[in-house]
Amino acid sequence: MNRTTLGFILLVVGGAIAPLLGVYPTFLMKCWCFALFACAFNLLLGYTGLLSFGHAAFFGAAGYIAGHSIKVWGWSPEAGILAGAAFAAVLGWVFGSLAIRRAGIYFAMITLALAQMIYFVWLQMKFTGGEDGLQGVPRGMLIGIIDLTDSMNLYYVVFAIFLFGFFLIYRTIHSPFGQVLKSIRENEPRAISLGYDVAKYKLVAFVLSAALSGLAGATKTVVFQLASLTDAHWHTSGEVVLMTLLGGLGTVFGPVVGAFLIVGLQNQLADKVGSWVQVIMGVMFVVCVLAFRRGIVGELVALARKMGVSRV
């Protein structure tokens, strides 16, 4: 049994029993939403080498669409979540087609600026509730049979959504398509010279990443019954970068570890040292970039390799 399989088993078993061990389900659901968000982001940064600084746009937009369709139009939760993810995919297509016109540092700046534009749109539109957010989104019944007002039911639905997204990403990066993405990350001119339509691959990766980020954001709206501006703010874009960086860029499990650590840290620190959270996150950024670029999981993998257990 190799390490990845072991990791999967730990993840599934751990996720399944965690709420039974007395861990607060709402906290765990928040972690899973951000973990999916970070994994989706990692597909782009870790495997394609594209740094998007505007991923909160997809996370936040899907939240608003899901919230509005469930609350105002009376859609079922699954339809609302799908609508949110679909909207994020469309938005991702628009962002992606614009941003891939420039590479490297410009790509990051363009995605950031586009996300800020969307942020202002949400701020001004009536249905989003502006600064107050879209509150009181009902949880309802999933496919008409599972009562999501029960937090245990909701927990396992959220966990299943995470696993679905996680598995999809895992399959993507281990498919021939994923290999092409990695080759773009490693050496773009060479991928072009081999005849790959690099722009198209980047765009598909971008849309997939946006859609899954949207899935995470829409799910978070159902969990917290709230879609807010915070989720669309550039701070959230920064958070997801940090989660991925801290856990390990381009590792399968890294973003999950990073998301749990950051969400956990915010939970722990928010009531004690409130305004320091931002400083601590900044310090983590600096430390990760200067001394810890492989991230936690990346370091573990490197350590295991050094000790001779070289199976990935």
């Binding site: 540092i105 990051a108 363009i110 970039v289």
Partner: protein, 304 residues
């Protein structure tokens, strides 16, 4: 004509003035970003935080420093901090460059962006902890209070000064880089640092000073901004994102291009406030989208 559109000429002129002011800040900040990017190949995400530091140094010098020193009468006036703040923040930038950024030059450029993003979070977080999120007022220096009657509108003296000072600084920078020997070293260093080093020019020192200068420019803009905008920890954060869009629109290849793009976008933003106020927050981003569709390298840019 104005009556037909339901807009008074006064409203138009005053918004154009506001636009020109904002444009001067865009120009100064995007110029700093472009100079830093040229030498270091790094996008300085902490530019907004350093601009905010400049404004805070001005405010601290005027209102806080005296009480700290036990002499409430003592204060550093506007003109002193206009010189002092860029020097302090520039020195701070040099320390950052030497201790952190210089370790990243061999890596992917994105790490520089991430590092400076982290620094921006730290700086803003610390100021937030110390002074809260609400803004502080900074009084216009005595010499520049009041307004000049231009016949068709009243021009507040301080606003005229901001435009003149920022244009002077921008064109001085342009002159140094494009027309002097030092500037020719810089431009050569941007093109091919190794060759310039081989000719006996101390390139690492040049890189350090360039970062210090770019950051000092941000602090200078911050001091200029202090009497116009409220001085608060978040004043730089949202501004810098607009400046990023400005940089994408202009392209970072040309110094003069950065200046012109910055001013022009400020004016466009001002005009939008008159004719379609709801769109003023997003107009720069919309222009960015159009430029990306029509001319992806930016108006003054060239593909590397």
């Amino acid at each position: 004509m104005f009556e037909l559109l339901g807009i008074t000429p006064q409203a138009l002129y005053s918004q154009l003035l506001v636009g020109l002011i904002n444009g001067s800040f865009y120009a100064m900040l995007s110029l700093g970003l472009a100079v830093i990017f040229g030498m270091l190949n790094i996008i300085n995400f902490s530019h907004g935080a350093q601009y905010m530091m400049g404004a805070f140094i001005a405010w601290i010098g005027l209102t806080q420093l005296g009480p700290w020193l036990g002499n409430p009468q003592f204060q550093l006036n506007y003109w002193v901090v206009l010189l002092l703040a860029p020097l302090l923040v520039g020195a701070f930038g040099i320390v950052i460059e030497r201790t952190m950024l210089s370790r990243l030059y061999k890596l992917d450029h994105l790490y520089g962006l991430l590092l400076t993003f982290g620094l921006a979070l730290i700086i803003e977080g610390l100021f937030r902890y110390a002074y809260g999120v609400s803004g502080q007022q900074y009084e216009i220096p005595e010499l520049l209070q009041g307004a000049i009657n231009l016949g068709f509108m009243f021009l507040p003296k301080y606003r005229a000064w901001v435009i003149i000072a920022s244009l002077a600084v921008c064109f001085a920078t342009w002159y140094v880089i494009e027309r002097t020997k030092l500037g020719s070293y810089l431009r050569a260093g941007t093109e091919n640092p190794r060759l310039v080093q081989a000719f006996g020019v101390n390139v690492p020192l040049m890189i350090t000073l360039t970062y210090g200068f770019g950051v000092a420019l941000a602090a200078f803009a911050g001091v200029l901004a202090a009497p116009i905008f409220t001085v608060g920890p978040l004043m730089g954060a949202d501004l810098i994102i607009v400046v990023f869009a400005v940089v994408v629109i202009g392209g970072m290849g040309s110094i003069l291009g950065s200046i012109i793009t910055g001013l022009a976008l400020g004016l466009v933003e001002g005009l939008t406030k008159v004719f379609y106020p709801e769109g003023s927050a997003v107009v720069v981003f919309v222009i960015m989208v159009i430029v990306l569709l029509v001319r992806p390298a930016g108006l003054f840019g060239r593909e590397k």
